[in-house]
Assembly symmetry: C2
Homo-oligomer: 236 residues x 2
Protein backbone atom coordinates (compact mmCIF):
# COMPACT_ATOMS: atom_id res chain seq x y z
CA UNK A 1 0.00 0.00 0.00
CA UNK A 2 1.33 3.43 -0.94
CA UNK A 3 0.29 6.01 1.66
CA UNK A 4 -0.13 9.71 1.11
CA UNK A 5 0.57 11.94 4.08
CA UNK A 6 -0.78 15.48 4.06
CA UNK A 7 0.82 17.94 6.45
CA UNK A 8 2.41 21.38 6.45
CA UNK A 9 5.59 21.29 4.38
CA UNK A 10 7.76 23.53 6.54
CA UNK A 11 7.48 22.02 10.01
CA UNK A 12 7.76 18.80 11.97
CA UNK A 13 4.67 19.68 13.98
CA UNK A 14 2.02 17.08 14.65
CA UNK A 15 2.75 15.35 11.35
CA UNK A 16 6.14 14.25 12.63
CA UNK A 17 4.62 11.54 14.83
CA UNK A 18 3.21 9.95 11.69
CA UNK A 19 6.36 10.48 9.65
CA UNK A 20 8.42 8.70 12.31
CA UNK A 21 6.17 5.63 12.17
CA UNK A 22 6.22 5.48 8.38
CA UNK A 23 10.00 5.95 8.30
CA UNK A 24 10.72 3.44 11.05
CA UNK A 25 8.75 0.80 9.15
CA UNK A 26 10.23 1.71 5.78
CA UNK A 27 6.71 2.23 4.46
CA UNK A 28 6.04 3.42 0.94
CA UNK A 29 4.65 6.93 1.38
CA UNK A 30 4.52 10.33 -0.21
CA UNK A 31 4.77 13.51 1.86
CA UNK A 32 2.37 15.27 -0.47
CA UNK A 33 2.56 18.90 0.64
CA UNK A 34 6.34 18.93 0.29
CA UNK A 35 6.01 18.44 -3.45
CA UNK A 36 5.05 21.02 -6.05
CA UNK A 37 1.36 21.87 -5.83
CA UNK A 38 0.97 19.62 -2.79
CA UNK A 39 -0.13 22.26 -0.31
CA UNK A 40 -2.87 23.33 -2.71
CA UNK A 41 -4.06 19.72 -2.94
CA UNK A 42 -4.11 19.50 0.85
CA UNK A 43 -6.11 22.70 1.20
CA UNK A 44 -8.58 21.55 -1.45
CA UNK A 45 -9.26 18.32 0.43
CA UNK A 46 -9.82 20.24 3.67
CA UNK A 47 -12.04 22.71 1.85
CA UNK A 48 -14.15 19.69 1.22
CA UNK A 49 -15.94 20.73 -1.98
CA UNK A 50 -15.51 17.24 -3.45
CA UNK A 51 -14.88 15.40 -0.20
CA UNK A 52 -17.64 13.43 1.47
CA UNK A 53 -15.80 13.32 4.78
CA UNK A 54 -13.43 16.28 4.93
CA UNK A 55 -10.92 16.37 7.78
CA UNK A 56 -10.92 19.35 10.16
CA UNK A 57 -7.16 19.86 10.03
CA UNK A 58 -3.90 18.26 8.91
CA UNK A 59 -2.24 15.86 9.31
CA UNK A 60 -4.34 13.39 7.42
CA UNK A 61 -3.52 10.22 5.55
CA UNK A 62 -4.87 8.73 2.36
CA UNK A 63 -4.81 4.94 2.44
CA UNK A 64 -6.65 3.58 -0.56
CA UNK A 65 -10.17 4.92 -0.29
CA UNK A 66 -9.79 5.98 3.34
CA UNK A 67 -8.93 9.48 4.50
CA UNK A 68 -7.92 9.42 8.15
CA UNK A 69 -7.18 12.47 10.29
CA UNK A 70 -5.97 13.07 13.85
CA UNK A 71 -2.46 11.85 14.67
CA UNK A 72 -3.54 9.30 17.26
CA UNK A 73 -6.15 7.83 14.94
CA UNK A 74 -3.73 7.66 12.01
CA UNK A 75 -1.28 5.76 14.22
CA UNK A 76 -4.05 3.53 15.56
CA UNK A 77 -4.86 2.63 11.96
CA UNK A 78 -1.27 2.25 10.78
CA UNK A 79 0.09 0.52 13.88
CA UNK A 80 -0.73 -3.09 13.07
CA UNK A 81 0.04 -2.60 9.36
CA UNK A 82 3.51 -1.24 10.16
CA UNK A 83 4.06 -3.87 12.88
CA UNK A 84 4.28 -1.09 15.44
CA UNK A 85 1.31 -2.19 17.56
CA UNK A 86 0.23 -5.32 19.40
CA UNK A 87 -2.50 -7.41 17.81
CA UNK A 88 -4.83 -7.95 20.74
CA UNK A 89 -7.65 -5.50 21.36
CA UNK A 90 -6.63 -4.68 24.94
CA UNK A 91 -3.08 -3.90 23.83
CA UNK A 92 -4.20 -1.77 20.90
CA UNK A 93 -6.57 0.23 23.10
CA UNK A 94 -3.91 0.76 25.74
CA UNK A 95 -1.45 1.95 23.11
CA UNK A 96 -4.06 4.29 21.63
CA UNK A 97 -4.81 5.67 25.09
CA UNK A 98 -1.15 6.48 25.62
CA UNK A 99 -0.95 8.17 22.22
CA UNK A 100 -4.03 10.28 23.06
CA UNK A 101 -2.19 11.40 26.18
CA UNK A 102 0.68 12.46 23.91
CA UNK A 103 -1.89 14.47 21.92
CA UNK A 104 -2.95 16.26 25.11
CA UNK A 105 0.64 16.97 26.03
CA UNK A 106 1.47 18.31 22.59
CA UNK A 107 -1.43 20.77 22.78
CA UNK A 108 0.02 22.10 26.03
CA UNK A 109 3.46 22.37 24.42
CA UNK A 110 1.84 24.42 21.65
CA UNK A 111 0.16 26.64 24.20
CA UNK A 112 3.48 27.58 25.81
CA UNK A 113 3.91 30.01 22.92
CA UNK A 114 0.23 30.50 22.11
CA UNK A 115 -1.65 30.63 25.41
CA UNK A 116 -4.13 33.36 24.48
CA UNK A 117 -4.99 32.62 20.90
CA UNK A 118 -3.99 30.49 17.94
CA UNK A 119 -4.93 33.40 15.70
CA UNK A 120 -2.44 35.80 17.32
CA UNK A 121 1.31 36.00 16.90
CA UNK A 122 3.64 34.90 19.67
CA UNK A 123 4.85 38.50 19.85
CA UNK A 124 1.33 39.52 20.86
CA UNK A 125 1.21 37.18 23.85
CA UNK A 126 4.71 37.11 25.27
CA UNK A 127 3.93 37.93 28.93
CA UNK A 128 1.12 35.36 28.98
CA UNK A 129 3.41 32.82 27.33
CA UNK A 130 6.05 33.37 29.97
CA UNK A 131 3.52 32.75 32.72
CA UNK A 132 2.16 29.66 30.97
CA UNK A 133 5.62 28.22 30.29
CA UNK A 134 6.59 28.50 33.94
CA UNK A 135 3.70 26.29 35.08
CA UNK A 136 4.34 24.03 32.13
CA UNK A 137 7.98 23.40 33.07
CA UNK A 138 7.32 23.11 36.78
CA UNK A 139 4.17 21.04 36.79
CA UNK A 140 2.67 19.89 33.53
CA UNK A 141 5.70 18.57 31.65
CA UNK A 142 7.04 16.65 34.70
CA UNK A 143 3.54 15.26 35.27
CA UNK A 144 3.11 13.96 31.71
CA UNK A 145 6.67 12.70 31.28
CA UNK A 146 6.66 11.22 34.78
CA UNK A 147 3.50 9.33 33.84
CA UNK A 148 5.14 7.83 30.74
CA UNK A 149 8.20 6.95 32.81
CA UNK A 150 5.94 5.05 35.22
CA UNK A 151 4.25 3.26 32.34
CA UNK A 152 7.65 2.18 31.06
CA UNK A 153 8.67 0.85 34.48
CA UNK A 154 5.46 -1.08 34.90
CA UNK A 155 5.88 -2.74 31.50
CA UNK A 156 9.25 -4.16 32.47
CA UNK A 157 10.81 -2.44 29.42
CA UNK A 158 12.78 -1.98 27.33
CA UNK A 159 9.85 -0.35 25.47
CA UNK A 160 6.71 1.31 26.82
CA UNK A 161 4.57 -1.72 26.10
CA UNK A 162 7.23 -4.20 27.15
CA UNK A 163 9.37 -6.37 24.93
CA UNK A 164 8.33 -5.00 21.54
CA UNK A 165 8.72 -1.48 20.21
CA UNK A 166 5.52 0.29 19.17
CA UNK A 167 4.66 3.70 17.80
CA UNK A 168 4.41 5.19 21.29
CA UNK A 169 8.16 4.69 21.65
CA UNK A 170 8.72 6.74 18.51
CA UNK A 171 6.55 9.46 20.02
CA UNK A 172 8.61 9.38 23.22
CA UNK A 173 11.71 9.97 21.08
CA UNK A 174 10.01 13.00 19.53
CA UNK A 175 8.89 14.38 22.89
CA UNK A 176 12.36 14.17 24.37
CA UNK A 177 13.95 15.68 21.25
CA UNK A 178 11.39 18.45 21.11
CA UNK A 179 11.64 19.32 24.79
CA UNK A 180 15.44 19.43 24.53
CA UNK A 181 15.16 21.80 21.59
CA UNK A 182 12.51 24.10 23.06
CA UNK A 183 13.51 24.12 26.73
CA UNK A 184 17.16 23.03 27.01
CA UNK A 185 17.53 24.22 30.60
CA UNK A 186 14.11 23.17 31.83
CA UNK A 187 14.40 19.76 30.20
CA UNK A 188 17.81 19.14 31.70
CA UNK A 189 16.23 19.26 35.13
CA UNK A 190 13.24 17.15 34.10
CA UNK A 191 15.46 14.47 32.58
CA UNK A 192 16.89 13.61 35.98
CA UNK A 193 13.58 11.99 36.79
CA UNK A 194 12.96 10.17 33.52
CA UNK A 195 16.07 8.06 32.86
CA UNK A 196 13.92 5.34 31.32
CA UNK A 197 12.44 7.62 28.67
CA UNK A 198 15.89 9.00 27.87
CA UNK A 199 16.95 5.42 27.26
CA UNK A 200 13.99 4.86 24.94
CA UNK A 201 14.99 8.01 23.04
CA UNK A 202 18.45 6.58 22.47
CA UNK A 203 17.21 3.18 21.36
CA UNK A 204 14.75 4.75 18.93
CA UNK A 205 17.46 7.00 17.44
CA UNK A 206 19.52 3.89 16.74
CA UNK A 207 16.81 1.99 14.88
CA UNK A 208 17.88 1.66 11.22
CA UNK A 209 14.79 3.34 9.72
CA UNK A 210 14.94 6.25 12.13
CA UNK A 211 18.69 6.64 11.86
CA UNK A 212 18.47 6.90 8.08
CA UNK A 213 15.54 9.29 8.32
CA UNK A 214 17.26 11.63 10.77
CA UNK A 215 20.30 11.80 8.49
CA UNK A 216 18.16 12.62 5.44
CA UNK A 217 16.67 15.91 4.30
CA UNK A 218 13.22 14.40 4.83
CA UNK A 219 13.68 15.26 8.52
CA UNK A 220 12.81 18.97 8.72
CA UNK A 221 14.86 20.74 11.41
CA UNK A 222 13.02 22.12 14.44
CA UNK A 223 12.11 25.76 13.87
CA UNK A 224 10.02 28.58 15.28
CA UNK A 225 6.95 27.82 13.16
CA UNK A 226 6.44 24.37 14.64
CA UNK A 227 5.07 23.05 17.92
CA UNK A 228 8.41 22.91 19.75
CA UNK A 229 9.91 26.39 19.49
CA UNK A 230 13.05 27.71 21.09
CA UNK A 231 12.34 31.05 22.73
CA UNK A 232 15.04 31.43 25.41
CA UNK A 233 12.80 33.75 27.44
CA UNK A 234 10.34 30.88 27.98
CA UNK A 235 12.96 28.47 29.28
CA UNK A 236 13.85 28.09 32.93
Amino acid sequence: MRYQLFYWAEIQGRGEFVRLALEDAGADYEDVARKRGGTERMMAIMGGAREKRPPFAPPFLRAGKLTIAQVAEILFYLGPKLKLAPRDEAGRLWLHQLQLTVTDFIKEVHDTHHPVGTGLYYEDQKPEAKRYAQGFLEERAPKYLGYFERVLKKSGGPWLLGRKATYIDLSMFQLVEGMRYAFPKGMKRIERDIPGLVGVRGRVAARPGIKAYLASDRRIPFNESGIFRYYPELDR
Copy 2:
Protein backbone atom coordinates in the same frame (compact mmCIF):
# COMPACT_ATOMS: atom_id res chain seq x y z
CA MET B 1 -22.06 -6.23 30.80
CA ARG B 2 -22.12 -3.90 33.81
CA TYR B 3 -19.88 -0.90 33.20
CA GLN B 4 -18.19 1.20 35.83
CA LEU B 5 -17.60 4.83 34.95
CA PHE B 6 -15.04 6.80 36.96
CA TYR B 7 -15.28 10.57 36.82
CA TRP B 8 -15.46 13.57 39.13
CA ALA B 9 -18.69 13.43 41.10
CA GLU B 10 -19.56 17.13 41.08
CA ILE B 11 -19.41 18.08 37.40
CA GLN B 12 -20.59 17.12 33.94
CA GLY B 13 -17.16 17.83 32.51
CA ARG B 14 -15.61 15.42 30.05
CA GLY B 15 -17.36 12.47 31.66
CA GLU B 16 -20.72 13.74 30.44
CA PHE B 17 -20.05 12.63 26.87
CA VAL B 18 -19.74 9.07 28.16
CA ARG B 19 -22.73 9.36 30.51
CA LEU B 20 -24.91 10.51 27.60
CA ALA B 21 -24.00 7.45 25.54
CA LEU B 22 -24.61 5.04 28.42
CA GLU B 23 -27.92 6.72 29.27
CA ASP B 24 -29.15 6.91 25.70
CA ALA B 25 -28.58 3.19 25.31
CA GLY B 26 -30.05 2.31 28.69
CA ALA B 27 -26.80 0.57 29.56
CA ASP B 28 -26.19 -0.99 32.95
CA TYR B 29 -23.57 1.20 34.57
CA GLU B 30 -22.39 2.56 37.86
CA ASP B 31 -21.16 6.15 38.22
CA VAL B 32 -18.62 5.06 40.79
CA ALA B 33 -17.29 8.33 42.18
CA ARG B 34 -20.81 9.54 42.96
CA LYS B 35 -21.18 6.79 45.55
CA ARG B 36 -19.69 6.67 49.03
CA GLY B 37 -15.94 6.05 48.86
CA GLY B 38 -16.03 6.16 45.08
CA THR B 39 -13.71 9.11 44.61
CA GLU B 40 -11.11 7.37 46.77
CA ARG B 41 -11.40 4.27 44.58
CA MET B 42 -10.93 6.42 41.48
CA MET B 43 -7.85 8.12 42.89
CA ALA B 44 -6.37 4.77 43.93
CA ILE B 45 -6.69 3.41 40.39
CA MET B 46 -5.04 6.52 38.96
CA GLY B 47 -2.31 6.32 41.60
CA GLY B 48 -1.58 3.03 39.97
CA ALA B 49 0.03 1.14 42.85
CA ARG B 50 -1.87 -2.03 41.93
CA GLU B 51 -2.70 -1.11 38.35
CA LYS B 52 -0.68 -2.50 35.49
CA ARG B 53 -1.96 0.13 33.07
CA PRO B 54 -3.02 3.17 35.09
CA PRO B 55 -4.91 5.92 33.23
CA PHE B 56 -3.48 9.44 33.21
CA ALA B 57 -6.77 11.13 34.13
CA PRO B 58 -10.50 10.54 34.44
CA PRO B 59 -12.87 9.72 32.91
CA PHE B 60 -12.11 6.05 32.59
CA LEU B 61 -14.28 3.01 32.21
CA ARG B 62 -14.03 -0.48 33.62
CA ALA B 63 -15.48 -3.06 31.26
CA GLY B 64 -14.70 -6.54 32.52
CA LYS B 65 -10.92 -6.74 32.66
CA LEU B 66 -10.40 -3.65 30.51
CA THR B 67 -9.74 -0.18 31.86
CA ILE B 68 -10.20 2.40 29.11
CA ALA B 69 -9.46 6.11 29.40
CA GLN B 70 -9.87 9.15 27.14
CA VAL B 71 -13.44 10.11 26.24
CA ALA B 72 -13.06 9.52 22.51
CA GLU B 73 -11.52 6.10 23.08
CA ILE B 74 -14.19 5.09 25.58
CA LEU B 75 -16.84 6.01 23.01
CA PHE B 76 -14.95 4.24 20.25
CA TYR B 77 -15.03 1.11 22.40
CA LEU B 78 -18.62 1.46 23.58
CA GLY B 79 -20.11 2.66 20.28
CA PRO B 80 -20.79 -0.68 18.59
CA LYS B 81 -21.82 -2.30 21.88
CA LEU B 82 -24.38 0.43 22.57
CA LYS B 83 -25.51 0.44 18.93
CA LEU B 84 -24.33 4.03 18.64
CA ALA B 85 -21.75 3.45 15.92
CA PRO B 86 -21.66 1.99 12.41
CA ARG B 87 -20.15 -1.45 12.02
CA ASP B 88 -17.83 -0.92 9.08
CA GLU B 89 -14.24 0.12 9.73
CA ALA B 90 -14.39 3.26 7.57
CA GLY B 91 -17.50 4.45 9.39
CA ARG B 92 -16.09 3.74 12.82
CA LEU B 93 -12.86 5.59 12.01
CA TRP B 94 -14.75 8.57 10.62
CA LEU B 95 -16.93 8.71 13.73
CA HIS B 96 -13.85 8.48 15.96
CA GLN B 97 -12.19 11.26 14.01
CA LEU B 98 -15.18 13.53 14.58
CA GLN B 99 -15.17 12.71 18.29
CA LEU B 100 -11.47 13.54 18.51
CA THR B 101 -12.31 16.92 17.00
CA VAL B 102 -14.86 17.34 19.81
CA THR B 103 -12.02 16.58 22.25
CA ASP B 104 -9.95 19.38 20.71
CA PHE B 105 -12.87 21.77 20.89
CA ILE B 106 -13.59 20.93 24.54
CA LYS B 107 -9.99 21.66 25.47
CA GLU B 108 -10.39 25.13 23.94
CA VAL B 109 -13.66 25.62 25.83
CA HIS B 110 -11.79 24.76 29.03
CA ASP B 111 -9.07 27.24 28.16
CA THR B 112 -11.56 30.13 27.92
CA HIS B 113 -11.44 30.23 31.73
CA HIS B 114 -7.97 28.70 32.16
CA PRO B 115 -5.77 30.11 29.40
CA VAL B 116 -2.60 30.54 31.45
CA GLY B 117 -2.56 27.53 33.71
CA THR B 118 -4.65 24.59 34.85
CA GLY B 119 -3.03 24.90 38.26
CA LEU B 120 -4.18 28.50 38.76
CA TYR B 121 -7.63 29.79 39.72
CA TYR B 122 -9.80 31.57 37.19
CA GLU B 123 -9.55 34.65 39.40
CA ASP B 124 -5.81 34.69 38.78
CA GLN B 125 -6.16 34.81 35.00
CA LYS B 126 -9.22 36.94 34.30
CA PRO B 127 -7.71 39.44 31.84
CA GLU B 128 -6.08 36.64 29.88
CA ALA B 129 -9.36 34.69 29.92
CA LYS B 130 -11.22 37.66 28.51
CA ARG B 131 -8.76 37.96 25.68
CA TYR B 132 -8.89 34.24 24.99
CA ALA B 133 -12.69 34.10 25.10
CA GLN B 134 -13.00 36.87 22.54
CA GLY B 135 -11.01 34.96 19.94
CA PHE B 136 -12.83 31.81 20.94
CA LEU B 137 -16.27 33.29 20.30
CA GLU B 138 -15.29 35.11 17.13
CA GLU B 139 -13.17 32.49 15.45
CA ARG B 140 -12.65 29.15 17.11
CA ALA B 141 -16.18 28.19 18.17
CA PRO B 142 -17.71 29.20 14.80
CA LYS B 143 -14.94 27.29 13.03
CA TYR B 144 -15.50 24.05 14.96
CA LEU B 145 -19.29 24.22 15.01
CA GLY B 146 -19.38 25.33 11.38
CA TYR B 147 -17.31 22.26 10.54
CA PHE B 148 -19.77 19.92 12.25
CA GLU B 149 -22.63 21.71 10.50
CA ARG B 150 -20.94 21.02 7.17
CA VAL B 151 -20.44 17.37 8.09
CA LEU B 152 -24.13 17.11 8.88
CA LYS B 153 -25.11 18.65 5.55
CA LYS B 154 -22.82 16.36 3.60
CA SER B 155 -24.27 13.28 5.30
CA GLY B 156 -27.77 14.16 4.12
CA GLY B 157 -28.99 14.05 7.75
CA PRO B 158 -30.90 13.84 9.94
CA TRP B 159 -27.84 12.75 12.00
CA LEU B 160 -24.16 13.56 11.55
CA LEU B 161 -23.42 10.20 9.98
CA GLY B 162 -26.66 10.10 8.00
CA ARG B 163 -29.72 8.03 8.70
CA LYS B 164 -28.69 6.53 12.03
CA ALA B 165 -27.92 8.33 15.27
CA THR B 166 -24.46 7.74 16.73
CA TYR B 167 -22.60 8.97 19.77
CA ILE B 168 -21.34 12.05 17.92
CA ASP B 169 -24.93 13.32 17.84
CA LEU B 170 -25.11 13.05 21.61
CA SER B 171 -21.89 15.04 21.80
CA MET B 172 -23.39 17.71 19.53
CA PHE B 173 -26.29 17.99 21.98
CA GLN B 174 -23.82 18.51 24.80
CA LEU B 175 -21.81 21.11 22.87
CA VAL B 176 -24.90 23.18 22.05
CA GLU B 177 -26.22 22.92 25.61
CA GLY B 178 -22.85 23.81 27.08
CA MET B 179 -22.27 26.75 24.76
CA ARG B 180 -25.74 28.10 25.54
CA TYR B 181 -25.00 27.86 29.25
CA ALA B 182 -21.52 29.36 29.16
CA PHE B 183 -21.92 31.99 26.44
CA PRO B 184 -25.65 32.76 26.05
CA LYS B 185 -25.07 35.92 24.00
CA GLY B 186 -22.17 34.66 21.97
CA MET B 187 -23.92 31.39 21.21
CA LYS B 188 -27.08 33.15 20.08
CA ARG B 189 -25.12 34.74 17.28
CA ILE B 190 -23.29 31.51 16.39
CA GLU B 191 -26.54 29.54 16.25
CA ARG B 192 -27.72 31.54 13.25
CA ASP B 193 -25.16 29.68 11.19
CA ILE B 194 -25.71 26.18 12.56
CA PRO B 195 -29.43 25.45 12.19
CA GLY B 196 -28.71 21.81 11.45
CA LEU B 197 -26.83 21.23 14.71
CA VAL B 198 -29.59 22.99 16.65
CA GLY B 199 -31.98 20.51 15.08
CA VAL B 200 -29.78 17.60 16.14
CA ARG B 201 -29.79 19.01 19.68
CA GLY B 202 -33.57 18.96 19.73
CA ARG B 203 -33.84 15.44 18.35
CA VAL B 204 -31.31 14.14 20.87
CA ALA B 205 -33.18 15.80 23.76
CA ALA B 206 -36.34 13.98 22.68
CA ARG B 207 -34.78 10.51 22.62
CA PRO B 208 -36.35 8.45 25.42
CA GLY B 209 -33.13 7.55 27.23
CA ILE B 210 -31.83 11.12 27.13
CA LYS B 211 -35.18 12.62 28.08
CA ALA B 212 -35.39 10.42 31.18
CA TYR B 213 -31.77 11.14 32.04
CA LEU B 214 -32.15 14.92 31.79
CA ALA B 215 -35.19 14.78 34.08
CA SER B 216 -33.32 12.69 36.67
CA ASP B 217 -30.87 13.74 39.36
CA ARG B 218 -28.21 11.72 37.57
CA ARG B 219 -27.79 14.76 35.28
CA ILE B 220 -25.61 17.15 37.26
CA PRO B 221 -26.47 20.79 36.51
CA PHE B 222 -23.86 22.92 34.75
CA ASN B 223 -21.75 24.77 37.29
CA GLU B 224 -18.58 26.83 37.63
CA SER B 225 -16.35 23.85 38.42
CA GLY B 226 -16.98 22.15 35.07
CA ILE B 227 -15.76 22.72 31.54
CA PHE B 228 -18.62 24.98 30.48
CA ARG B 229 -18.75 27.83 33.00
CA TYR B 230 -20.92 30.90 32.98
CA TYR B 231 -18.81 33.97 33.62
CA PRO B 232 -20.79 36.87 32.13
CA GLU B 233 -17.62 38.89 31.65
CA LEU B 234 -16.34 36.31 29.15
CA ASP B 235 -19.47 36.38 27.02
CA ARG B 236 -19.93 38.66 24.06
